[in-house]
């Protein structure tokens, strides 16, 4: 068991450019079933062993795909996501960064009435180690196990997965929810999936300053948490009022500060690591209790 993706995951790649084809090859190497890619006008041909389709609808018809991964450039990403939703894809994972917020608001509105789950954009994707990887993460840092892992950050995800793996803490599913202000599966929703996943024994939540997703995740776990959890917040040293990178980590007022997030987790009885390196020990302690 796992959430979002497993051995039955069948992926169509949307945007088989340089980055898309590089990562399609890495996903195949990992054993993910990459069943097709969309490339309008090239339908019926193949590229590096991947069958190409003109439209998502055709790709789904022909391959029974249930997942897509979006690499298309930001100006075309909304269209790609909506095409995947329209084609009835269960899980869309959007890697693209730099998508206008207005586009994501439209996508979010369409998601409200669709059966599709969107992970991202501007995230590394998701991986169920040993079963399927739909993303751009370096696979060697991940290993199968019982830790469900949610992160708003890309490279920090690899860092922490590496620490967990070295500590012998394999992962059930790792979900990079994406760093944009508007994402398809916000941290609280991702946490809920893992909380309800029988294969997940403990949850690691990696947040960032800005927004209040971590606070909501903490509230949820306080009320309904079924398993131990450990948190980490990046940006605790950030001065207020400064915008740190594309992550949308804007600190303003009392909302979204590291303090507010740390307090929320502590009030929910969830230990908060001071540095990524502390996470594995905290997880082990939490599992022992």
């Amino acid at each position: 068991m796992s959430v979002l993706l497993d051995r039955n995951t069948r992926v169509v790649v949307q945007g088989l450019g340089r980055e898309g084809s590089f990562h399609a090859a890495r996903m195949k190497e990992y054993g993910t079933k990459v069943v097709g890619a969309t490339k309008p006008g090239k339908g019926g041909t193949t590229q590096e062993g991947v069958p190409l389709f003109d439209t998502m609808a055709q790709a789904v018809d022909a391959t029974d795909a249930n997942t897509s991964i979006v690499f298309v450039p930001a100006p075309f990403a909304m269209d790609a996501m909506l095409e995947a939703i329209d084609a009835g894809i269960d899980l869309v994972i959007a890697i693209t960064e730099g998508i206008p917020v207005a586009d994501m608001l439209k996508v979010a509105a369409v998601l409200e009435t669709s059966g599709t789950t969107l992970v991202g954009p501007n995230g590394p994707g998701a991986i169920t180690p040993g079963q399927a990887k739909v993303g751009i993460m370096p696979a060697e840092n991940f290993s199968p196990g019982g830790i469900g892992f949610v992160s708003r950050s890309g490279t920090l995800t690899y860092e922490i997965a590496d620490l967990l793996t070295r500590a012998g803490l394999g992962q059930s599913t790792c979900i990079g929810v994406g760093g944009d202000p508007v994402v398809g599966l916000p941290t609280p929703d991702a946490v809920r999936l893992l909380n309800e996943d029988p294969a997940t024994e403990a949850i690691v939540i990696v947040g960032e300053i800005g927004g209040s997703a971590e606070e909501h995740a903490a509230e949820y776990l306080r009320a309904e948490g079924k398993k131990p959890a450990v948190a980490f917040i990046a940006g605790r040293s950030a001065p207020p009022g400064k915008r740190m990178g594309h992550a949308g980590a804007i600190v303003s007022g009392n909302q979204g500060t590291a303090e507010s997030k740390v307090r929320a987790f502590e009030e929910a009885g969830i230990p908060v690591a001071n540095a990524p390196s502390e996470i594995p020990d905290l997880v082990k302690q939490a599992l022992r209790r």
């Binding site: 490279t155 760093g179 915008r243």
Partner: protein
């Protein structure tokens, strides 16, 4: 990207929102002429991309063109929060009865725009939100339908806008929502929205921030971009595809991924040091990227050591190592470097760097400690 008040007001006017008669001036002469053309008492207002200009002396009322001239003379050249005032906006003074607040921004939790309306205008709305949240009426229109008339009306009722202005305020809210959508704004605000003694409405001040990610499709707005001296380094970094924020410590930071870089800053602080900057090179850093990043970080004279923290995903450790070696070979840095490479091709990278004049560490914590230690050492000559 921030717009100036006068630019934002032009966009409001184009959408049919009433604004006072106003003219831009870059000299005292121009300000005097502007006041004469307006033919009434005017406000002379500094045009700078920071808040709080009123308290900093950036706004003056002038009853005559001569007074407007003096006001402009006093304001032009002023430094407000580090920004030099180079333009003033000369605007007919309003006959103010009351002040309202109207603003639209993103509600991340609801994944919708939020329209906020309050009869407590002219104040810092975050202050009001914190102390008096009930004073702000909020509405969350669908991004697919826009702010519907009934929603705007309900906001005006909820905020307690009285009868003579209710419909007009609802109408302005709808027009402002159109501006928000059409300009890809991340924030648009009329604060204060004046109710004049004759009961008419007028945008007293206007703020409009554009979503940087949408500038590619807002060519007209992109042209309005102005870079202050303070923002030059950030801007230069942005042009290279980096995110850069200058801070006030002495450990220069380069990393890939916003979360990782923030954690690196945190690690430096935990190690007892202070970061000089935030610099995220993004994905796929190669030689030139590393060189450019180092150049930006080292341009800050406060930097006494540099910590490079790369966790390879798209980015390959060997490429990063090659970049660092090339930079060291051609432009030996003036301060010590500490490198931490992990992830894709990290081992290959570490091998390449083995004999280079720099410190390499396996973990973020160790690298941060070393960078902090080096920053505290006496300067090498």
């Amino acid at each position: 990207m921030k717009l100036h008040e006068y630019q934002a007001k032009q966009l409001l006017a184009r959408a049919g929102i009433p604004i006072p008669d106003g003219r831009l001036a870059t000299t005292a002469d121009e300000a005097e002429r502007a006041a004469r053309a307006i033919g009434a008492s005017v406000a002379v207002k500094a045009q700078v991309h920071v808040g709080g200009r009123g308290k900093a002396g950036g706004i003056r009322i002038a009853k005559t063109p001569a007074e407007a001239r003096d006001a402009a003379k006093a304001i032009l050249g002023l430094e407000i929060k580090g920004l030099r005032v180079e333009k003033v906006y000369v605007e007919r003074a309003a006959d103010v009865d009351r002040e309202l607040y109207l603003g639209i921004t993103l509600d991340r939790d609801r994944r919708r725009p939020v329209v906020m309306l309050s009869t407590v205008g002219g104040m810092d709305i975050e202050q009001v939100a914190a102390t008096d949240p009930d004073k702000i009426a909020r509405g969350w229109p669908s991004p697919l339908l826009g702010l519907l008339p009934f929603e705007a009306r309900a906001l005006a009722f909820e905020a307690g806008v009285p009868e003579p202005q209710r419909d007009a305020v609802a109408d302005i809210a709808r027009k402002l929502f159109t501006v928000y959508v059409q300009t890809d704004a991340s924030l648009v605000e009329i604060n204060p929205l004046f109710v004049q003694k004759d009961r008419s409405l007028l945008a007293g001040d206007a703020k409009l921030d554009v979503d940087d990610n949408a500038l590619y499709r807002q060519p007209e707005l992109a042209k309005l971009k102005e870079i202050s001296r303070d923002e030059e380094a950030e801007e230069k970094a942005r042009a290279l595809g980096f995110s850069y924020v200058q801070l006030d410590g002495d450990v220069g930071i380069i990393g890939n991924g916003a979360g990782l870089v923030m954690s690196t800053l945190d690690a430096v602080k935990l190690a007892g040091g202070r970061a000089a900057n935030f610099l995220d090179v993004g994905g796929g850093a190669k030689e030139e990227v590393v060189r450019n990043a180092l150049e930006i970080v080292l341009a800050n004279p406060r930097v006494r050591s540099v910590l490079i923290n790369i966790f390879g995903g798209i980015t390959r450790g060997d490429e990063v190592a090659k970049g660092i070696l090339a930079v060291i070979a051609t432009h030996p840095p003036r301060v010590p470097l500490v490198i931490r490479l992990s992830g894709t091709e990290a081992e290959a990278g570490r091998k390449l760097l083995a004999s280079a004049p720099l410190e390499s560490r396996e973990t973020m914590d160790d690298a941060a400690k070393e960078a902090v230690r080096l920053a505290k050492e006496p300067v090498r000559v």
